[in-house]
Subunit: 133 residues, 4 copies
């Protein structure tokens, strides 16, 4: 099973940061490996402190379930089939900003971004994803 | 008080795994004893890493309350009598996939399954339950 | 990077259990994958409940540091270079009973055993290791 | 109060990584800010998974007490004035590898390194410290 390298992870964090800067966003950016373990991280100056943990949890959620963190959100709402799944695994984040990272057909890790609106977070995460291609 | 044996628990995990494999599901399967302590566990290759904890929590929830994990879900919704009970006990899972295991009239433990849709999870848990009969 | 399969992990747990039974030991036996995530587990009837967590922590410790759990013990003693490293990672176990599992030159996971003396625990873990060869 | 910037933190991680690579060490490298919050992190390919948490805890320990993590070790031994202080703050690491980062006379954060012997860890942390000068 392939795993993400530090060179790749660093490139991803830098690409996400650069995109965020171009938009005026202040973001926390985390990359985990295929075992959902932290591989690389950067927090932009002035980014929310509370988003350190959220960015890491978004990345882990995306790798733990091999889908975007935001794809879990509709399922975990009141009345939904996965209501309150967020209490598992020491805390999941089920809103957007966590995206799996793939090389070829294989998931090698995930990126998680937090610091702005969920749409802003996801756009920065996608900039990171693009850097791996 | 009767308790589940490792032989029984292993048989249950294997039956659940075999059923899951026949359906093309990738599942985490946990069995807890009458004290809600982990007795046996198996994770199929490629099954979600985030479902390790969920499968164990489903099994514990089913034994802690002597009912299917999914039976708690309607009660824990906003406005419901057990609203957010999920934060207790280090984290409950209140959607389907956890089922008590009984021998005669006595509950001897529970099975918890996670890795697919809640219907898929429950069907695999039932395959495990059937193996004890 | 290769990972342990459920078939391998199940074989390892069964071999360790069988050896423990032949010695009259009551053991908890855990196998984690190359990402230190739980892969398979079995608790023998009557084995200490407190050893569930210890067996899993031994396996994780062995994989987290790619060495036997007991190799850390001399280093973490009072006055040693890694004193109280046990408080990291949510709890390490640094006495014997956790051993990495290798295929060829690559570590694919680890086994952790708890339930008796540390020598007994380690002997059962070694029986599991041998089953992978 | 001055704080470390992401540019500085990234430079520090990269300098530490480069030094580690030149020595053949596989390290986890963490930088925290003046509030002891994670600022930047990188894990070299193949570095111990268990050292992710330890590197972050070393950095936090160094900033929480404004001294090298290893300076606490002699005080926390059995019979010492800070016996078992390691259980505070969610886990301290009191052996070498965590060093405060200063700009002029002010502490702006700390670096924590884990992955080898404590002497190796500290040498890599010092390479990071030097990069800030």
């Amino acid at each position: 099973m392939p795993d993400i390298t530090l060179t790749q992870a660093t490139t991803i964090v830098e690409a996400a940061r650069s995109f965020a800067e171009s938009k005026g966003f202040l973001m926390n950016i985390a990359v985990v490996d295929q075992g959902a373990n932290l591989k690389a991280f950067g927090r932009m100056d002035g980014a929310w402190l509370g988003s350190i943990d959220i960015s890491i949890k978004k990345a882990r959620t995306a790798r733990w379930f091999d889908m975007e963190s935001g794809d879990l959100g509709p399922l975990s709402q009141p009345g939904g089939p996965l209501y309150n799944i967020e209490v598992s695994n020491g805390g999941l984040i089920t809103f957007p900003g966590g995206i799996p990272l793939t090389v070829g057909d294989e998931i090698v890790g995930a990126i998680g971004v937090s610091g702005g609106s969920v749409d802003e977070d996801r756009s920065v995460a996608l900039a990171g994803v693009d850097a791996l291609s």
